[in-house]
């Protein structure tokens, strides 16, 4: 069970990131989100979404999905490293728990305005 993302539908609005941040912190904040709209290649218009899962990183790139196993020695790939710049690194964040404590279900799925995220 997890979520899947259609990176070409994604408009980079960050609603998913805020929705996940709310699920973690009960306020509006981005620091603890396990789903992040990566947007550091602004001048290149290269953007997508990364999700931290239990033992892998899901990187929804425009050209296709990449799944990175999180091994002790493994380096996260470029966008994952850069997604959060000085913010909390992706690897230090909690893994997606599918919002199991939320009545409405996965918050990122609910708040994505263009339905780019769906339960897998």
């Amino acid at each position: 069970m997890g979520i899947k993302i259609d990176a070409l539908k994604c408009t980079g609005c960050m609603a998913c990131e805020m929705a996940c941040g709310y699920h973690r912190d009960d306020g509006f904040a981005l620091l603890a989100s396990c789903i992040v709209a990566y947007r550091t290649r602004e001048k290149k218009d290269y953007f997508g979404v990364i999700v931290k899962e239990e033992d892998e990183l899901l990187i929804a790139r425009p050209e296709g999905l990449e799944v990175k196993k999180l091994g002790a020695s493994e380096e996260p790939s470029e966008p994952a490293q850069k997604a959060d710049a000085s913010a909390k690194p992706m690897l230090l964040r909690e893994a997606c728990d599918m919002c199991e404590d939320m009545e409405v279900g996965p918050m990122c799925v609910k708040f994505c305005p263009v339905n780019a995220i769906s339960p897998a």
Binding site: L8, T11, G12, C13, M14, A15, M18, A19, Y22, D25, D26, G27, F28, A29, L30, L31, R39, T40, R41, E42, K43, K44, D45, Y46, F47, R61, P62, E63, K82, D84, A85, S86, A87, V104, K110, F111, P113, V114, N115
Partner: protein, 438 residues
Amino acid sequence: MEYLSADKILVVDLTTSEVTEDELSDELVEQKIGGAAINKYLYEQYEADNPVVVGTGLLTGTLFPASGAAVMTAKSPVTGNLCHCPITLKVGLEIQFAGFDYIVIKGASDNPVFLWVHDGIADITDALDVWGKNTWETTDTWRKAMGDDLIQTMVIGKAGEAGSDLAQVCLNYWASGDRFGFGKLFGEKKLKGLAFRGMGLLEIADAEEFVDQALEILDDIREGDFIGKKGIGDIYAAMGQSGVNAWLEPLVHRHSACYNTPYATNTFVYLDEDPATLKETANEEPGFLITELYGLLGFKALGLSADDACRMLKICAKGGYDAAAVAHQAKAAGKTSMGDIESALADFSGAGPMHGKGVFSPWCPNQPLFSFFEEAEEDPGGWWERRQAVAYIFGIHPIFAVMSPELVEDDMLEMAGVGTELSIEPEKLNAAVAYLYK
């Protein structure tokens, strides 16, 4: 104010280099609500020092749909009026989380400076190294110096430094809703720009209720008439400018949205790369993000090709020129080629095309987009002003406000109450709107 807020007003005196902080009182929020109305209130407090005020709306940076806008307020050096323009993309969001709800910048510095606002700290910082640099180089320099590519900037280029009427405060690398020459005001203050980054947290008075209601409103919005449309091409079509979409289409790479905004109002064109490229290109600067409608329209009307028109937009944004005003002045001067327009940039003066009463930026089209608004049938001018005023008070994306009738004032008021525990009734909103026109 405890909720949906950093509870801080920052006052920066560029003349003395002093930075002071105030609390944001519940009384002020209950009286003026937020955004443009509190900006104006603060402007009046410091009017003698010709301030620029940057502030967030009451709902900016929340999960309320389209809550992506902050507001810049100042007296336009071009029109002479006190006016407001939106701060969109992810810049409004970053302002909200950088630790201050409102920032008053008054006086003028002797030497070039920028304001670095991060995690509740504000530093007036030397900008001598970037004075003379274009907006792209400046944003890159600041991001590199601070080691953070997500720093969001409001920045001027050559136009603002040289005191051009056409000077615009740009957002990161792109055009903004500053259609009032605020860039010139920055230049007069020797203020190269503002840089924001923050990891703040906004507390919510009744969090569950707020989020449940935001979701209900979003579900309504998802049934809206704009669904299935994307980018600026479709906006032009909705404005009745039917030829623009097909003219631009061959250059279009992707469309993107401002923070939490259901419609992607921005369109990226690839000028030096195949627009069909999906992989990350090695080209560091393959194109341009179109964030403003009237510049492109103006260049098209002059007979420029889509490629030249987009390149012209890029030249304008790098130099910190308001492209809509450039196209307007180029037409008046009979300049109709990219080269001629570029060489004449420094000679242009005066305002660009305006609509409305001159209080809110003409960046937002003054007509409904995609959707039917009953009030717009009866009184189109009054409808647009009201719609903008409310959006600028709550921090709602002004263009999305004219495409989504599902966004209603009562919901914004209710969410303001649920989110802050303050009593904010419809009469207060009416008073705050009336105040903006005083």
